[in-house]
């Protein structure tokens, strides 16, 4: 059987009892068959909120990134950004699935992705910020991937084996995301005077949003104490050091210190930019809740 036959033969088959052609083609079971027992000493409700925080950062950023599809400077960059978005979406699926198990509600990833309003989303503001130009996308990705990589590197040691496994997988992906953002920061920053100026402006635009990444929400602090999560306030120096190295190598100004950390998105308080993003993300699922294709 040729490759094409193989792929399309499945599309023509009856759905039967298999739900894989529902929203996202069976995306409702990202953790099928994984042992989901909660480890001792880890609070299930806290773990569920924590998984939503990490999952929402990825889901919302992925939705922003797909706006580059058909609109990137070159086809290769469009493919790259779509691939990065796909990795993040995959991480979000696993994390949101874990959330529904940890809090005992059994809510699935679609329930979280499509069933919550803006005030229930726990992502940081930088993930929901308007996409801006390509330099801005690069700057946003540079900061978010560097910070996320720092968190997930440590989450590999999480007391929750599911979170640990998700992190171990994600670290390899995030390393590629950061590498991509670094390569473009260097190319634009150390490029023409015009590209330098645009890259510098992009870094200046995202910088006010960086403080929040290092503000420990009480849930993060508690889970860190339980050995299942990571306290982001402990990572600020490391992340700043990485960013400083990239920016100065790109001949951009050494970065200012991060702004004062303050919790906002992790508590469900968002900018007006999130609601329209979610409207776009959720509309089809909400208008046609039983739809399959």
């Amino acid at each position: 059987m040729s490759g094409d036959d193989h792929i399309y033969s499945v599309l023509g088959q009856e759905h039967g009892g298999d739900d894989r052609w529902a929203f996202g083609t069976g995306f409702t079971d990202a953790l099928a068959g994984v042992d989901t027992t909660l480890p001792e000493g880890v609070d299930g409700d806290d773990l569920a909120l924590y998984c939503q925080m990490l999952g929402d950062d990825a889901l919302v950023q992925a939705q922003r990134l797909v706006h580059w599809v058909t609109d990137a400077p070159e086809l290769e960059e469009e493919v790259a950004l779509a691939n990065i978005a796909l990795d993040l979406l995959g991480q979000a699926r696993l994390l949101l699935s874990r959330a529904g198990q940890a809090d005992g509600t059994g809510r699935d990833e679609d329930g979280f992705a499509y069933g919550r309003g803006p005030a229930e989303f726990r992502n940081v503001h930088l993930a929901e910020a308007p996409r801006g130009d390509f330099a801005r996308a690069v700057a946003t990705l540079l900061v978010l991937s560097t910070a996320r990589l720092a968190v997930f590197t440590r989450l590999v040691e999480s007391a929750d084996p599911v979170l640990s496994a998700i992190a171990a997988k994600a670290v390899n992906e995030l390393a590629y995301h950061r590498e991509y953002a670094v390569s473009w920061t260097l190319r634009l920053g150390d490029g023409t005077p015009y590209s330098h100026e645009r890259m510098a402006a992009a870094v200046a635009d995202v910088w006010p949003l960086t403080g929040e990444l290092f503000a420990a929400h009480p849930v993060e602090a508690r889970l860190a104490a339980q050995g299942a999560g990571v306290d982001p306030s402990a990572l600020a120096d490391e992340v700043h050091g990485v960013l400083a190295q990239v920016l100065t190598t790109a001949t951009l100004a050494a970065p200012a210190p991060f702004p004062e950390p303050a919790v906002a998105g992790r508590d469900g308080r968002h900018t007006p930019d999130l609601a329209p993003l979610l409207d776009e993300l959720q509309r089809v699922a909400r208008e046609h809740p039983e739809a399959t294709w």
Partner: protein, 188 residues
């Protein structure tokens, strides 16, 4: 054929399977192992190294463990359905396809046979996956990856067009010698 520590452990846990059970378990394993990857159809799931275990329970249920290549791999649902169908076609009515997340898949799990098949089909196989020491992932500011050899003409002089290709697992390259573009399964 994929054998994992997990499988060995499982098999040992069975109290003296009969010869018939063994044959049936092998049949189930062979069926699952032969399923083609939806995105790299020249490879079986066993070649790709994502089949983590096949087990025949006492009640006749076949349990198959597979692991995703990338977190967002869109082919995973398809693979699960294909495995389910293949094992059923091999004569088993009860099949459970389960996810195994740990240890995370890397390209080092691709078998030698899988690498040979990739090259045969004009796709450059991955080199060794990056070794990561525990702790922060070191920052690389310069390209450190060695350029893959052209799978079409064998020349070493190739350039990267994009680190991200048509599927998550591939990057795009061009040979400076024969000028043909080609795909490379990137090391992860």
């Amino acid at each position: 054929m994929v054998t994992t520590a997990h499988e060995t452990g499982r098999a040992a846990a069975h109290a003296g399977p009969t010869a018939g059970d063994r044959t049936a378990a092998e049949r189930a394993r062979a069926a699952a192992a032969a399923v083609a990857d939806p995105e790299l159809p020249m490879l079986t799931l066993a070649d790709l190294g994502i089949l983590r275990g096949v087990d025949l329970d006492r009640d006749g249920t076949v349990q198959v463990w597979i692991t995703p290549t990338y977190s967002g791999c869109p082919a995973l649902a398809e693979m699960r359905a294909d495995v389910d169908r293949a094992v059923r076609s091999a004569g088993f009515d009860r099949v459970r396809v389960r996810m195994a997340l740990s240890p995370a898949w890397t390209t080092d799990w691709i078998t030698e046979e899988g690498r040979a098949k990739l090259a045969e089909h004009g796709i450059s196989p991955p080199g060794r996956a990056p070794r990561r020491a525990p702790g922060p992932v070191p920052l690389t500011l310069l390209p450190t990856r060695t350029a893959p050899r052209c799978p079409l003409c064998g020349a070493a002089d190739t350039e990267e067009l994009s680190r991200f290709g048509a599927t998550s697992c591939k990057s795009l390259h061009r040979c400076r010698s024969c000028l043909e573009p080609f795909e490379h399964v990137k090391e992860i």
